[in-house]
Amino acid sequence: MIAMVFPIAGVEINPIYLALLGFFIGLLGGFFGVGGSFIAGPALRAFGLNWNFAVGTDLAHIVGTSVVAAKRHRALGNVDLRLGLIMAGGTIVGAEIGAQLIQMLKRMGNVNLVVSVVSIVVYSSVSVFMIWEASLTLRGQRKSKRAGQAKKTGKEDETAFRHITDKIHRLKLWPMISLPVSGIKSISLWTILTVSFIGGIFSGFLGGGAGYIRMPMMVYVLGVPTHLAVGTDLFEIIISASYGTFSHALKGNVDILIALVMQTGAAIGAQIGAISTQYFAGPKIRLAFVPLPLIGVGLVLYTLLTGHKL
């Protein structure tokens, strides 16, 4: 099939590549609760889009992927609607600040270099942290098994940072709220808003839903079980990424045609990914997540060092 012209971004790309990329991203989205921007952003950049277009277009695509995956997760009981709605507020404010930073860099003319370097640092740090934590948890589980303690099953979850999460839950910063669906008796509203605000800044700056930051923070900081963090993150992303898409489109950073083509593959991938979460325990899902941001790092490094686009 010949390459298709996308007049808004001014690029020519084979739509099959875009649909396949969408399928892969959808699969990850459904399974890990992330938008997949750590791969989609660098991949779009490698297809020839400028970073500002890669960031905005990726956000639009993520709206679609999240709708499909969140609907499936809702059916599986993995969505805490209350938590998702609260987080959407913090994310939107953060995303707007992130988008303004992109605009500032665009005016200064060095958006490609700065975003490339920041994305390499962030993606690598997330991978290193998660491999460390998931290994600690799995080692702890093996020790418990040897000691004859009962293994946690289904959606019950454990992390190596449980003691830190408990300390965060004990912070008495009014107003305190409870999240029965996530099994959290009491937590400060400000803690939730801070987590979502940080995720929002990354979302606006590096593109996507920033699930690579928010999903781990929901597990380690808020103490949400992994399966629920995956589903709730996706639900929250629908709201915040829709706002992000609108904001970036106003700034001329979205080629919606590219997002629509990618979405055709993502729709099927997201369904398969979401169904697959039923067969894996929380720490294993987190450990499987580790290599993904590193693929993004590889793509950014390739484009940055060689100047070539795929």
């Binding site: 992927t65 709708v67 489109a249 369904q271």
Partner: protein, 80 residues
């Protein structure tokens, strides 16, 4: 178990073929026609374009989700 896996894989393959036909038609008809109009709206009415972006991606994802769920149900219903 092996039979179950084979059946699931077969259903998935059929689903991909059916879905592939829909998508190929969609690429050829809708996106080729939509491209120039969207580019013009983006140049002349950026606010409308921003609204359209959100509406189009939400609308398409809801339609595609229903389509894939329908195909999955149809194939699973037949294989069970």
């Amino acid at each position: 178990m092996k039979d179950e896996a084979r059946r699931a894989l077969f259903s998935f393959a059929i689903e991909m073929i059916v879905y592939g036909f829909f998508i190929a038609g969609y690429f050829l008809l809708v996106l080729h026609l939509l491209g120039p109009s969207l580019a013009r709206i983006e140049q002349e009415h950026i606010r409308w374009y921003a609204l359209l972006c959100v509406a189009l991606i939400l609308g398409q994802s809801i339609v595609l989700e229903s389509l894939t769920t329908f195909i999955l149900r149809l194939l699973r219903g037949r294989s069970e």
